[in-house]
């Protein structure tokens, strides 16, 4: 059985936290450039120029792309034939987050308890860690730091089957219009359809780990992604101060659901669509 020491996991997670904070993924960078070419608002062009330049400075100088380096969402796919040795997996991941956020000069934005005693944990832990057991003997790690300017504008709607495609479009657009320019557009919109309330929310987060250039493999969903993107880009929200580049992409993931339900979750991500992926 293949063995993997937790120390290796901690080191990799630490590096990945820094990478994700400094380097905007290429697909998002190209999406911003495309948006700049087609943007119709003069102010919108100025804003996009600043955002593109920001990505270049952050990458060239190893600086956080945005000051909100987020809550650290971690997706782990653990191969069922992998033996993790030397300690606890969750602790190892959190140790990696603490190391990366401290060494990388990233902002620590997590409070230990949400309501009565909001004290900063001072190292950005704990991360929001999802673990899935999969075939194989590898550990697949995706790190997706999430800023809260956009997270606070996300939402969920429990539709009924009769609402259909029209209902889904309406629910999504209500959330987008309510968010307006607040989540630092151009946005990337992750949508989860189906499952239970919690599963839909998780699918909407997973949707954001897919490249913005890749459409859903099922043609009906791919079409819905494109239709929603077009609608969002006609709201006028634009890159924060009005315009035509309100969103770079809409990514939908779906899952089986109950005969009586049609949950729709929308996670709005800002242009700081940060990710890092490694397989150990």
């Amino acid at each position: 059985m293949r063995e993997l020491d937790v120390k290796v996991i901690t080191e990799n997670v630490a590096e990945m936290c820094k990478e994700a904070a400094y380097y905007l993924p290429d697909d998002v960078y190209r999406g911003l450039k495309r948006g700049r070419e087609t943007e119709k608002s003069e102010v919108g062009k100025i804003v996009l120029d600043q955002i593109i330049k920001n990505a270049e400075i952050a990458k060239a100088e190893d600086r956080p792309y945005c000051q909100d380096t987020g809550m650290t969402i971690v997706f782990l796919k653990v191969g069922q034939d992998l033996h993790i040795t030397g300690g606890d997996l969750t602790e190892a991941v959190n140790a990696g987050i603490a190391k990366g956020y401290t060494e990388g000069y990233l902002r620590k934005s997590v409070v230990g308890e949400p309501l009565f005693n909001r004290v900063n944990t001072k190292n950005n832990t704990p991360g929001v860690i999802y673990t899935e057991i999969v075939p194989g003997d590898k550990l697949d790690i995706t790190i997706a730091p999430k800023g809260f300017g956009s997270e606070n504008k996300s939402g969920i709607k429990m539709l009924v089957p009769a609402d259909g495609v029209k209902g889904v479009k309406k629910a999504v657009m209500e959330i987008i219009l309510h968010a307006s320019m607040n989540p630092c557009p151009p946005m990337v919109v992750g949508i989860g359809i189906g499952g239970t309330m919690d599963r839909a929310a998780l699918l909407s987060k997973k949707a954001l780990t897919r490249s913005i250039d890749e459409r859903n493999p099922m043609p009906e969903y791919a079409k819905l992604e494109e239709e929603l993107l077009e609608m969002i880009n006609q709201t006028g929200i634009g890159p924060q101060l009005g315009g035509t580049t309100s969103a770079l992409a809409v990514n939908i993931e779906w899952g089986p659901t109950h005969i009586a339900g049609l949950p729709v979750a929308v996670t709005i991500c800002c242009h700081a669509m940060r990710h890092s992926h490694r397989v150990l």
């Binding site: 307006s180 006609q234 006028g236 101060l241 009005g242």
Partner: protein, 149 residues
């Protein structure tokens, strides 16, 4: 600060004719005055803003919409609201030359500090008469009505 004012205490900083920038920067790397420092959501301050504007603040820099109460207080005090580009944090850091903590150091990135800036990129979004560029800027590009779905 609004709590201190409510208790009748004096504030540690004189806000008269100052411009306030809402931000929570990343820690500075060695040799830098500040880390990445884009604007934070101004709306989080809205509940306290009218009181603070009455202390003499003339300008605010942040991102996102403001409540009607804030806009009223801006008109009353002749104050302007500027937007910095949300998320352009590494770029904005280039224009900050000096960062000096003035009060509440225990709040870390959210302490009150004096910033010295050159060519700071900000755009007026709500002026002292209440004109709102967020609305004006969106209108010509709006071609969508949710009731048409």
């Amino acid at each position: 600060m609004t709590e201190a004012l409510a208790r009748g205490e004096k504030l540690p900083v004189d806000w008269k004719n100052q411009i306030v920038y809402y931000l929570g920067p990343t820690p500075a790397k060695p040799g830098d005055p500040i880390g990445s420092c884009g604007p934070t959501t101004s709306g989080r301050m809205d509940a306290y803003t009218p009181t603070m504007l009455d202390q003499g603040i003339k300008g605010m820099v942040g991102k996102g919409s403001r409540t009607p109460e804030v806009v009223e207080a801006m008109k009353r005090n002749g104050a302007t609201y500027f937007a910095a580009v949300g998320g352009a944090a590494a770029l904005i850091a280039k224009s900050v030359k000096k960062y000096t903590v003035l009060a509440y150091p225990e709040l870390g990135p959210e302490a009150v500090a004096a910033l010295e800036v050159v060519d700071f990129p900000a755009i007026v979004v709500i002026d002292c008469e209440g004109n709102n560029f967020y609305e004006i800027g969106q209108k010509p590009f709006r071609n969508f009505d949710i009731n048409q779905i």
